[in-house]
Symmetry: C2
Subunit: 149 residues, 2 copies
DNA sequence: CAAATCCCGACAAATATAGTCAAGAAGGCA
DNA sequence: TGCCTTCTTGACTATATTTGTCGGGATTTG
């Protein structure tokens, strides 16, 4: 998974939405789900997994919802993706499909290659903050409204 | 898929094996499967998909088997992975999970990010030839036999 | 012709991903 | 207090994808 699964993309979109509205106080799951077109129940599961991540926090009750615990410029795509994967990465060998079933163990000629690629991908993910995404999206919209001909 | 699935890894290992033995004439599927620990029948399917790729060619009959059509230094990991994916990439949007279901179409803030990551990965894959893998593996083995202390 | 080998399409099994549900806990407010 | 709203939790189901298998057919060589 270097281009995230739907779940990963939902997570990012949800956190992106929270970033967009960081000054509106807690945002309800149902609001995020509506705006970002994510199945409500599934988003519950997803956001719940971010408990303890230090990225979001939840509040129950009438004025409850989710909000960010740090500013969008301090949350990277890498943070989000890594957190979503934390248990899997521990066991699974990123190089071969699985260290147990790889017949070459530490002598697999492809291992270094996979590591290089994963590093390259996470270089990019780690350098991209939620704030960057907000900014780049605004630029896009501006360009569309006043296109250069 | 930027770190290849098992199938992709099988394909690479098979072509790697053909590279190692490029001077031995056609190699039987069953030989490749044995050496590289790949399910025989599955490998049949996989190699069959490379028909028309310009990477390998098959010969039937008693002294039949597979062989490369170009030298290992002219086959990149990118060639192999791309060929394996050719039909999928045509329809599926590499950016969102699928263009049809992505609610943001061409306005998805993440699209450029996925493209960047995919490009970074294929930069590496396209620069890595089968010959490179052969060479690097030999170096590894040499280092193990005479480790620097 | 027979034996070896690839070829082909359909099928089956395993795994991963995506999504749902029901009941509970907690916060806010009258 | 009691009620409404919202997150919490864990189990459950459904769907898609990946990984394989099988039987029989086509080719080549001797």
């Amino acid at each position: 998974m270097l281009i995230p699964s739907k779940k990963g993309q939902y997570a990012l979109r949800a956190i992106y939405e929270l970033s967009r509205r960081k000054d509106e106080g807690p945002i309800k799951i149902s609001t995020i789900a509506d705006v970002q077109v994510i199945p409500h129940r599934f988003l519950e599961v997803i956001l719940n997994q971010f408990k303890g991540s230090g990225i979001v926090e939840a509040k129950r009750g009438v004025y409850g919802g989710y909000s960010l615990t740090r500013s969008p410029s301090q949350i990277t795509v890498g943070d989000v993706l890594r957190y979503l994967q934390r248990d899997r990465d521990a066991t699974a060998c990123l190089a071969c499909v699985s260290q147990k079933t790889c017949p070459f163990f530490d002598n697999c000629g492809f291992l270094k290659l996979w590591q290089k690629v994963k590093a390259a991908a996470f270089d990019i993910y780690d350098q991209t903050t939620m704030q960057d995404l907000l900014d780049s999206n605004e630029t896009d919209i501006a360009l569309k409204q006043a296109p250069v001909e």
